[in-house]
Amino acid sequence: MNHAMTTQQLTALLPLILATLTTVVVMLTIAFKRQHRLIAAMTMVGLNLALLSLGPVLLAANGQPIELTPLLIVDGYAIFYMGLLLVTALGVLTLCHAYFEGYAGNREELYLLLAMATLGALVMACSRHFASFFIGLELLSIPLYAMVAYPVRDSRALEGGMKYLVLSGTASAFMLFGIALLYAETGALGFAEIAGKLAAGRPGILLAGAAMILSGVAFKLSAVPFHLWTSDVYEASPAPVSAFLATVSKAAMFVVVYRLFVNVGLFRHPLALQALTWVAVASMVVGNLLALRQDNVKRILAYSSIAQFGYLLVALVASGGRATEAAGIFLLTYIVTALGVFGVMTLVSSPMKDRDVEHIEQLRGLFWKRPYLSSIMTTMLLSLAGIPLTAGFVGKFYLISVGVDTKQWLLMGAVVAGSAIGLYYYLRVMIMMFQPIPVRERVSEPLNWVQHSGGAMLMAAMALVLVIGVYPEPFLNLIRASTLALR
């Protein structure tokens, strides 16, 4: 292969280059001038440029995948998910800005970490090689440890950060071991090359490798039985960081794993699929059941995200064909919804105080005080529960249709049961906001200026949830067009 880059390839690299530049520029600026608003704005501009650069990438690609070294590939799938991840990261960024305004320590480094983690997510979206997969993963995870523990004087956050560091490190080690096993048998690290050389390897060792990789993946997606860290870490993190964990971090992992599943037949081995099916069933059931007894909204949302990814695993089990679209639409709806829910939790806790607003009782009567914020939260909770008129219904509908199509009756039973159980706690949180409060104060509290961008972002998320819920056709077409490569 010729190692000189063509213009086309350079263009395809633009989003990654711009995201990298953002981190460098932000880091240097912090060294010269500490100012919260400036740094947030710079990060926002940088990530927006990366997002805009997807336009030229689309033009350069012209419907064909662009291969960048054996490590990366920029195809429609990658472009779609890079866009989604960047938009999500920008959403989290607006939340961070509102939230960390109240933080007493240095606020600026958070944006550096956020930009780096986003870069890692972008790399994962384009990766087609275990090396780039792993680099992307670590680039995403390592800043996250620091983000979770960002309020360093808060022992709870520190504990959460440590917990995430240790467990995530273990999961990464498992994954590396698995990759090594595959490499030992096939002598390749690229997804396509491995797929070509599977026949030569010993099936036992290959399967062991796949299992170890899958357990690492399951950890990141917080699938049962690798979910134990989730609720603690979500609870301990600052609210916008929980939002990042629940959206960007999980989605990036799913995107690359889905590519792995479609490309490498090893992962569709009946044994692997069976294991995955049980992991999915367990995630739906256990995630939903554990959420029932929680009083902490962040923990409820953590368990809810375990269950939601259980639903998403249906697409992974079915991988290929319509499942690609189903995964796309479900991820899209989940991300928008999760961003909305965590966004509301962030804004009610903003600016940051000693402890976030997170006990369910603290939401009592919120609707009569802050009607817009609670309307958003209500919409998002209904969307998570999968009620029509919201995006969540479309996502779940598509997933169930794939499950029925591929006759995954066990999984479908779990989806139905999980959804019914899940209703209980979604409704519980929702109705709490509508409970009458003694003092009849009906005026909405004025949003102060720091919250404006966050509020606007949430309004946009709610609008998107409703639009997807009522008229999903354009989104379905977009996803179908961009994921052709992996059908």
């Binding site: 209904l382 009620i387 029509p388 008129l389 219904f393 509908f397 169930i400 249709s401 029925v404 199509d405 479908m412 989806v415 139905v416 049961a417 959804s419 019914a420 209703l423 209980y424 409704l427 519980r428 109705i431 509508f434 009458p436 009906r442 008229y471 999903p472 056709e473 379905l476 077409n477 179908r480």
Partner: protein, 520 residues
């Protein structure tokens, strides 16, 4: 047809009205009520106009249903989903019932609801709109969409404006239970719908959620698959109806719901299940339904008797009426699965008459509660002497509920029993004993509440009687029940074609069942 857009208005106006009444809440407390009332009167007017001007008696009923009005627009073409509405005699009658009871529900909450008035009417009207959507949808996705959409407003109605039992379970508990029961069963139906769509795709290569497309696929299915899919639909409708082992959400929901919520629930929401069976359950799977009929009819008889017996032992007046609903809906199930024209026509009358009488009874319970602040029968007694109007009106509706000849319910129950006696004499005989039990529970209600010695409960010897508004509402409902009891023919004519179609579909299945025996 050129004026088919009117169907969209039927659906859209309540949404709009509800949203408006929410928005104007900040200016006035009474404005939302007026907006809601005017909107519902308008849609009621539209639906009545459709009845008077349209022709619902098609000359030759066949096994394929025909629509008097149809509206279709593309929605999600990549999945073959369209915004497809259709109206025939059955759906028209139920839409009129919905809008009429909607007006009643707004009327009866005029004084009862004083918190968050605008938001209350938003929920009430969106719920009504969802129900109308269920009655009009001819696309399975759209149907499911409305089926689920009517839950959320109902949930809010119970959870926010309901009455918690002192020392008992909370209204949020009841609302959540209602939601989970219906959602769970609804998702099972969604699986069945999707399976049907995929089978249609396998057979024809076309994605479609259209009613007519799926009808042809469903009727030609492998019996084993049809059986499972039929069960999927049946469970959803059985929970909503409710049929006895799945009924436990209903008394709780009624016990806690505000009056308007109960009117809505008993009068309209339960009918969506019967409508679902008539429109989808039976026509899609006539053969499987025919095989399943004995089981369904046993459930029906169980429901009739169980509902009646349990109603008798209730002390909470609203729970009592809730259990009578279970008993009455048992007759509906019996009639549907009997499948003869008489029985099916009886089902239509019974649905409407029960909607009116149960609605009225719940409104009266609300009035009693407003005055006595209790719904406990043991704390009532002697009320007859304390009001001039309320007790005789209540007696009238109790008599309707027990099936007194001359009132609508009698016609319905009589037709159902007569129609099902031909095909299932045993079930008909057993069900008929429900009529006796109905007399027992209805009279015990009247006796305990109104007769005996007046009580000293601190509300004075004379309670404030029904206002003109309430008297007008009751008068209208009484006139309608009387009209249906004495001259049901206009209603029967309207639904005749639709019911004949269902009967033909059902009979064709029965015929093939008989024919297939010697072939084996």
């Amino acid at each position: 047809m050129t004026n088919s857009i009117i169907l969209v208005w039927l659906l859209f106006l309540p949404f709009l009205g509800g949203w408006l009444s929410w928005q104007v809440e900040r200016y006035s407390r009474t404005l939302p009520r007026w907006i809601a009332l005017i909107t519902m009167l308008t849609v009621l007017g539209i639906s009545l106009w459709l009845w008077f001007t349209g022709d619902y008696t098609l000359s030759t009923p066949s096994t394929t249903p025909q629509w008097a009005l149809e509206y279709k627009a593309e929605w999600i073409p990549s999945f073959g989903i369209s915004f497809h509405l259709g109206l025939d005699g059955l759906s028209l009658l139920l839409v009129i019932l919905t809008n009429l009871l909607g007006v009643m529900a707004i009327g009866c909450s005029w004084r009862e609801i004083d918190r968050y008035v605008g938001f209350f009417h938003l929920n009430l009207m969106w719920n009504l709109a969802g129900v109308v959507g269920v009655f009009l949808a001819l696309d399975m996705f759209l149907f499911f969409f409305f089926w689920e959409m009517m839950l959320v407003p109902m949930y809010f109605l119970i959870a926010l404006w309901g009455h918690s039992m002192p020392g008992g379970k909370s209204r949020v508990y009841a609302a959540t239970k209602f939601f989970i029961f219906t959602q769970f069963s609804g998702l099972i139906m969604l699986l069945a719908i999707l399976a049907l769509v995929f089978l249609h795709h396998q057979g024809t290569g076309v994605w479609s959620f259209g009613y007519m497309d799926l009808l042809s696929t469903a009727q030609g299915l492998d019996p084993k698959i049809a059986w499972w899919l039929m069960l999927g639909f049946f469970i959803a409708f059985a929970v909503k109806m409710p049929i006895v082992p799945f009924h436990t959400w209903l008394p709780d929901a009624h016990g806690m719901a505000p009056t308007a919520g109960s009117v809505d629930l008993a009068g309209i929401l339960l009918k969506t299940a019967a409508y679902g069976l008539l429109r989808f359950g039976i026509p899609f799977f006539p053969q499987a339904s025919h095989d399943f009929a004995p089981v369904a009819m046993s459930f029906a008889v169980l429901g009739i008797l169980y509902g009646a017996v349990v109603a008798f032992s209730q002390t909470d007046i609203k729970r009592l009426i809730a259990y009578t609903s279970i008993s009455h809906m048992g007759f509906v199930v019996l009639g549907i699965y009997a499948g003869t024209t008489e029985a099916l026509q009886g089902v239509v009358i019974q649905m409407i008459a029960h909607g009116l009488s149960a609605g009225a009874l719940f409104i009266l319970c609300g009035e009693i509660y407003e005055r006595l602040h209790t719904r406990d029968l043991t704390k009532m007694g002697g009320l007859w002497a304390r009001f001039p109007y309320l007790p005789p009106i209540m007696l009238f509706f109790s008599a309707a509920s027990l099936g007194l000849p001359g009132l609508g319910n009698f016609v319905g129950e009589f037709l159902i029993l007569a129609g099902s006696f031909k095909v299932a004499p045993l079930f008909a005989i057993l069900s008929a004993s429900g009529l006796i039990l109905a007399a027992v529970y209805s009279l015990i209600l009247v006796q305990k509440a109104f007769h005996g010695k007046p009580r000293e409960d601190g509300y004075g010897a004379h309670l404030q009687d029904l206002s003109k508004r309430e008297l007008a509402m009751m008068g209208l409902l009484m006139a309608l029940l009387l009209g249906m009891g004495l001259y049901p023919q206009p209603v029967l004519n309207t639904s005749a074609t639709a019911m004949k179609t269902v009967e033909l579909q059902y009979q064709s299945a029965a015929a093939t069942a008989v024919l297939s025996v010697p072939a084996r």
